[in-house]
Symmetry: C2
Subunit: 331 residues, 2 copies
């Protein structure tokens, strides 16, 4: 074993959709380890919409360039080590990238227990869980009795947002694409209602489900869904912008929500956040999220794809909405 396969970035999808052609399959030599490094066999990769932003080299994510291995968080096993704290056989989590083997150090990867929550650390007990937690609590300021609406509700972030909202005594309405996702929200996660934006009029259903207006809206989608919810916000509503998945693959920057002036009439707030701003509080948040997952108060679903060759196609599932739950892939 002296070589490995990698997926390199082959294009910068700025102002256009990312496609499989933006990645190039590459065979690389395995370099010898330096002191303090370990070699990790990549086992599971995590997929996130922000990865497209990284490839564009705009926005908040760390820049990546053409010809580099595509970055991605993942879980793997140490197979060779010149580092005391990373032992052969250890499971690690970190920025492993789209490749069969990653060279890591204790600053780029952490050892995690090989237990039943292993993959949850890429989802509800990882960045998506923290995004849900801090976005909802620190920006949404939900109160018992509030009407909380979540878009992208069956996604990794949205599903946690809705469940925390239920724990806090909110009435929770999820917006998702497809009847199976909607059924999961109401039957398994305890959402009060779900709107299938593919089969129903979001506008009409919101009117029916939220007669007093929407107090908190957690938006992962943007586009007409954001605009339709803005039309129904309640006095002093908090609109939390987490993402805009409907916009990311557009060739031309889509317009913003025409109904933004409703923020004035309703004395409401629309705000953005990044979970990285809450690093100091993340250990406490993860402790709470872990307890809630163990107690079954937060449930999650993984969409596990298979095979190294399917990595680029798996990223695209996020933008078409094909993924059902946290998108992962087992190499």
């Amino acid at each position: 074993m002296t070589t490995q396969r990698q997926w390199l970035i082959n294009g910068q999808p700025r102002g256009r959709a990312v496609t499989e052609d933006d990645f190039l399959l590459h065979e690389a030599e395995l370099a010898p380890l330096a002191s303090g490094e370990a070699r990790v066999r990549v086992q599971i990769l995590s997929f996130d919409p922000s990865q497209k932003g990284q490839m564009e080299n705009v926005g908040y994510a760390a820049a990546t360039g053409i010809g580099q291995v595509m970055t991605a968080r993942g879980i793997g096993e140490v197979v060779e080590s010149r580092c005391e704290s990373l032992k052969v056989g250890n499971k690690v989590i970190g920025q492993l990238g789209w490749q069969e083997f990653a060279t890591v150090s204790p600053t780029s990867a952490s050892v995690v227990p090989d237990d039943e929550l292993l993959t949850a650390r890429l989802g509800p007990l990882g960045g998506t869980g923290l995004t849900a937690y801090f976005g909802l609590l620190r920006n949404g300021h939900p109160e018992p009795g509030d009407m909380l609406v979540v878009s992208g509700a069956a996604g990794a972030t949205g599903s946690v947002v809705g469940q925390i909202g239920k724990m806090m005594g909110c009435t929770v309405v999820g917006i998702a694409g497809g009847q199976d996702k909607c059924a999961w929200l109401t039957d398994d996660l305890g959402f009060d209602a779900a709107i299938d934006y593919r089969g129903e009029s979001v506008k009409a259903r919101l009117k029916q489900l939220c007669p007093q207006g929407v107090n908190v809206f957690f938006d992962n989608v943007g586009g007409t869904i954001l605009n339709d919810v803005l039309a129904r916000i309640a006095l002093h509503a908090r609109v939390v912008i987490c993402g805009g998945i409907s916009r990311y693959q557009a060739d031309v920057l889509p317009p913003g929500p025409a109904n933004y002036m409703n923020l004035v009439f309703m004395r409401a707030t629309m705000s953005g956040f990044l979970m990285t701003d809450y690093a100091a509080e993340s250990p406490q948040a993860l402790e709470r999220l872990t307890a809630w997952v163990r107690e079954g108060r937060i449930r999650y679903r993984e969409d596990m794809q298979e095979g190294f060759e399917r990595i680029p196609a798996t990223l695209l599932r996020l933008f078409s909405g094909e993924n059902f739950g946290k998108q992962l892939l087992r190499l």
Copy 2:
């Protein structure tokens, strides 16, 4: 004197521009006064963009209907009275309407001193001053050293916002239409810079004037100006939506700001407010504003038109940007 002239609402300009045809000149009998009422000769009328919203019967303003006298705040003199607290000869301020004589009571009009600040009570010492005060302080949260950008900066609200910002140690950039307005902002009001959106590229000038980004944006305009400023907001910026004058005369609801996702990257907030929410604190705010005006720390400018027959045309000046300072009309 048994009759008077009035301007009645003759159309609901919803989804289209308001025009002079939306008003109908009418001759009405002067009704006898009931006990507790007084008759006021209307002397000065105040004009505000929200008056179009009132005519549309949407949004926050009190509904008005076709055939009613157009509502408006104004100043007048009591000419006949059956009310102890409203004496003949008193100057009063209140909802007088587009008519030569208004019938008022102590709940709809207040006696004001007939001093040099009389008309200022329709501007910097009235609703527009309070809008500037509470919008900037309670929603913009300006800090010394902040870059504060104001659109509609030569207007009644924007000019007060910028001057309060200067008092607080902000660097203040105003956006206004025309070189004369821009010169007034920098030469008379002490703004650090002004951008003439009619003659300059707002985008290019913002880049030049705000290299560290915009900490507080107070928006009266919307449209491309809002979008261009959103592209340059600083970390944790506060975008205060006060109005959207560029949108009010559109036949189709214009799109929102495409750059709203920058709220996420910059962890920023966009919020709306109405000054009526701060009624409890308005007396204190008016005391402060009055002191600042008397001390010359807040200067204002009035655009005084003349003549009853020119009332409808004067309202339209707000939407074309012809007004320079607080729009008033002397009957």
